[in-house]
């Protein structure tokens, strides 16, 4: 057991983790943050994407112990109370959600993109999100949603 200190969705926490435990397991099983999804546990699908110091990482390939001292944001950390984050709102209104299993990883990857590039073109969006697999939507409405979010994207959302 290793004690890890990290910030999760703005809250500093201290949690004991196994030495082979992934960040995905810690978030889902120890912290009850089940919004982060496991689709393959092999780093292939992108469903488990969380932000580590603002950058998207695959939590199934990240050892929990390596999160020591870092800032983690999961899907549960985006909305402010009942106010959805602009990326969440755009996904909702643009019909970018179907089964929703890829959605948390997709939204966080899109947020990381817009945080660094608030005006991406369609091809840039596709490139940035291409590591997140979706089997339902055909992607059209996901890319639309990111474009819509970009239009209303505030500084440092």
């Amino acid at each position: 057991m290793i004690i890890v200190q990290m910030t999760v969705n703005g809250n500093p926490i201290e949690v004991g983790v196994g030495d082979e435990e992934t960040l995905l397991e810690t978030l889902r099983q120890r912290l009850g943050l089940t919004g982060t999804k496991q689709g393959c546990d092999l780093g292939d699908c992108g469903s488990c994407t969380v932000l580590l110091d603002g950058k998207p990482v695959l939590s199934c390939l990240t050892l929990a112990a390596d999160a020591q001292g870092h800032e983690i944001v999961t899907i549960e950390g985006l909305a402010q109370g009942e106010d959805l984050h602009p990326v969440q709102r755009a996904f909702h209104e643009a019909g970018a959600v179907q089964c929703g299993f890829c959605t948390p990883g997709m939204v966080l990857t899109a947020k990381a993109l817009l945080d660094t590039n608030p005006n991406p073109d369609r091809e840039t969006i596709k490139g940035a999100l291409s590591g997140n697999l979706c089997r339902c939507t055909g992607y059209v409405k996901i890319v639309n949603a990111v474009e819509i979010a970009a239009k209303v994207y505030p500084e440092g959302a």
Binding site: Q38, D44, I75, Q88, G95, P104, L129, R135, Y139
Partner: protein
């Protein structure tokens, strides 16, 4: 009915569960945690075909932390989605038939212990010769995968004949014969299969990632020998199905068996590799088509032979076999038709139903075949399709009743959007456009097991706060059926759909809907919901009329406010109306069901194919073929789909876009291949290529509205038929680009290069 006369129908409605899915609140099966839950794991066969001589679990049982082990002999009753193919056991008993078949179930305090226990189980196998080639399996009497097969390993041969085929060919000016092969693909939903079982006080509760809670309910009851009222099946939020969660599976029974044995909740989560092993995907089809035509392109006769490689079990296969023959009579008029199909067992994971079930392989073959015929005759591919197009309010020769049919409009709109007249045959070499058509069922007319009950039922309750709750067994698998129910109830009642609660897919609290398969839910559950909502309306409207002092027929309700036409000053809220209605002594509810009309012929096989309505579609693709590498890139895809009426255009477009992209994966990337020896060639999402954002263009969905006379507000299916035409449209576009015909899908760069080298065609 015109869309403009609706309050909510026809307008974009975001999903009612969208916010929960976007904030991480939505509970999928693996997100549910009960105290004391044990981890269940399945030991799977490493052999493709073997007898089980003995299973020794003593060492595994002795491992600290192991709480229970179950074997096949503890649940010997067979199950299977089709009553005529109940050939599976919860765990293999005396024989395994494919690599990955579950043999032993273990429950332990944690995953590591459960996996360790699997290693300690000793299974003594006696290897049998394994069959992987369906042509070989058809004739090998000495190797029986199922001893019940009468001839070699043929599960079923199906023959159909309509009209005078010989006369049709005799009347033809031109006859063409082609062979095609369509490989297997698998569903690959992003959520893997999960079951959580909790046996308490003689009652089993199973939360499962299933598209068919009702069939799972029946099967668990039967196999575990528990009365149905002691079994509850709940489908939590589901992370995609596409048919891959459309029947009862081993892990569901084993979770229940282990929970009953251990007295604790047991959860089984499939790894991604196990999802590939479970499969039930598209059947590989070896197809031969022969068609006679007049000089002007009019079809005179069609003959179709299809060999389906079914894998190791029956699954939905008999339906797949008949669908493959029956649905070929859409969307063109065939005056004479003969089908000869065979489904064969092989030692591979069983094939079953996948989005577009049964029709996808034959549609690929026929649409490419038709383009070749058009080319032989010097006729434009759009023209030959128009010439033979099925018309509304007709009957196909195999007695499929066609009501609404917007096929010709689909052809026209897809052609226009791709710039057919300006571009076909006129683009520089390496670029080309292609088109193809299709048609599909809006649900099957006949239930999977014979019963006289409604195919879908809905209850609607109204509380005195004006809240409306819809209860329905329909399974929202991501396609949006909960939102559809809210929309239909909202439109009927005059209540904003986003305020309506939907409780679905829980066998204890919701009335039966048969499940999410055959593209049946909007049509059938939508109609049941409309009927239930009309009952509520019938109870509320007289109360409103009385209170407002106006005739009943003038009462209108919109956004929860009741008023009378011509008397805008008189209003009553829906909630006030409910309170008044309840004061008469009873609570307000409505109940409705949908049973399809009796349809179809009386010949053998006539039960598969009839549907209360058919969707139609035409897709057009533009491709670029790199003649150096053989890589095909789809630059544009237009999918025109006749869905009757778009209840919710946002959701409908999403269905069409998603289905078309599934098809692009199917035609260019995906092959659920099994190696010699029965191992999966590519059991991960890295090796098995589903399209990423960079692999596909932005699909342009065109919704064509033929307004079906029997669909809810005129709607019919839109999520499955919209897959079919994309595959042949791409293949036909490749011919336009570089002059080669490809008859095997998926189209690999190697196949393109080899065809280019040969100059032309197979």
């Amino acid at each position: 009915m015109k869309t403009s006369s609706f309050s909510y129908v026809g307008k974009a409605l975001p999903r009612i569960d969208g916010v929960a899915k976007l904030t991480g609140d939505a509970q999928y099966t693996d997100d549910i945690h009960l105290p004391g839950t044990l981890v269940g794991k399945l030991l799977r066969s490493p052999h493709a075909h073997a007898l089980i001589r003995n299973i020794d679990v003593s060492k595994a049982e002795a491992l600290p932390g192991v709480r229970g082990i179950v074997l096949g002999k503890e649940a010997p009753i067979c199950f299977g989605i089709l009553p005529r193919a109940e050939d599976e056991n919860a765990l293999a008993i005396d024989k395994v038939r494919y690599v990955g078949e579950p043999v032993v179930g273990v429950a332990a305090v944690d995953e590591r212990t459960a996996l360790e226990a699997l290693k300690l189980v000793e299974v003594d196998y006696e290897l049998l010769p394994a069959l992987f080639d369906p042509y070989e399996a058809m004739t090998r009497e000495d190797v029986k995968i199922h001893k019940e097969s009468e001839v070699a390993n043929i599960e079923r041969r199906a023959t159909l004949e309509f009209g005078s085929v010989e006369e049709g060919f005799a009347a033809a000016d031109h006859i063409r014969e082609d062979t095609f092969f369509k490989a297997a693909i698998t569903h690959a939903p992003i959520e893997t299969h999960v079951a959580l079982a909790n046996y308490r006080d003689g009652k089993m509760t199973l939360w499962s990632t299933t598209q068919v809670p009702h069939y799972v309910h029946k099967a668990i009851s039967r196999v575990l020998e528990l009365p149905m009222d002691r079994v509850r099946v709940i489908k939590p939020t589901l992370g995609g199905g596409f048919g891959g969660k459309g029947e009862p599976f081993s892990y569901e029974f084993v979770a229940c068996m282990l929970s009953r044995k251990c007295g604790r909740p047991v959860k089984i989560v499939h790894t991604r590799e196990e999802v590939f092993m479970s499969h039930r995907g598209r059947h590989p089809m070896h197809m031969k088509l022969r068609t006679g035509v007049k000089k002007d392109g009019t079809i005179t006769a069609v003959e179709f032979q299809n060999l389906l490689d079914g894998g190791s079990y029956g699954s939905y296969g008999l339906v797949t076999l008949y669908y493959s023959g029956q649905l070929l009579t859409l969307p063109y008029i065939l005056p004479a038709y003969r089908f000869d199909g065979v489904r064969v067992f092989t030692n591979k994971p069983a094939c079953g139903a996948l989005r577009g079930h049964g029709g996808v392989g034959p549609r690929f073959a026929f649409e490419v075949h038709l383009d070749r015929i058009a080319t032989d005759l010097g006729i434009d591919p759009v023209e030959i399709r128009q010439k033979n197009a099925l018309k509304p309010n007709t009957m196909t020769l195999n007695e499929l009743r066609i009501t609404s049919c917007g096929f010709e409009e689909c052809l026209e709109k897809a052609g226009k959007a791709i710039g057919w007249n300006e571009r076909r045959g006129k683009l520089p070499r390496g670029r080309g456009v292609g088109i193809a058509g299709g048609g599909y069922v809006s649900g099957a007319n006949n239930a999977i097991y014979f019963n006289p009950m409604p195919h879908s039922s809905v209850n609607i309750s109204v509380d005195r706060g004006g809240g409306v709750t819809v209860f329905c067994g329909a399974s929202d698998i991501g396609q949006g059926s909960d939102t559809m129910l809210a929309l239909v109830a909202g439109e009927t009642l005059g209540i904003r759909p986003d305020t309506i609660k939907v409780i679905s897919a829980d066998t204890d609290t919701t009335p039966v809907d048969l499940g999410s398969y055959s593209s049946r839910v909007t049509f059938m559950a939508g109609n049941a919901c409309r009927s239930a909502a009309l009952e509520v309306r019938r109870k509320i409207v007289p109360i409103i009329a009385e209170k407002l002092g106006v005739p009943e027929e003038t009462v209108q309700i919109k956004d929860g406010i009741a008023s009378a036409q011509g008397h805008s000053e008189k209003t009553l809220t829906f909630a006030q109306a409910v309170v008044l209605a309840e004061s008469k002594g009873t609570s307000i509810y409505g109940s409705g069901g949908y049973t399809p009309p009796k349809l179809g012929g009386s010949y053998r096989g006539a039960g598969v194919g009839p549907s209360p309505a058919y969707s139609f579609g035409a897709h057009a693709a533009e491709v670029e073929v790199d003649e150096e590498t053989g890589v095909v890139r789809v630059l544009k895809l237009v999918a025109a789909h006749d869905l009757g009426l778009a209840l919710n255009p946002l959701a409908a477009e999403g269905q069409v876009e998603g289905a078309a992209v599934n098809a692009l994966g199917e035609v260019l990337l995906e092959n659920h291949d099994i190696t010699d020896g029965g191992q999966h060639a590519c059991p991960s999402l890295l090796e098995y290529k589903i399209p990423t954002m960079l692999d596909v263009p932005d699909v342009e969905a065109i919704l064509v509205e033929s307004v079906d006379p029997e669909g809810p507000f005129g709607a019919k299916e839109c999520g499955e038929g919209s897959l079919h035409p994309s595959i042949p449209a791409v293949v036909n576009a490749i011919y336009d680009a570089v002059g080669i015909w490809l008859h095997d899908a998926p189209i690999t760069p190697e196949a393109v290069l080899s065809a280019l080298k040969k100059g032309e065609q197979p």
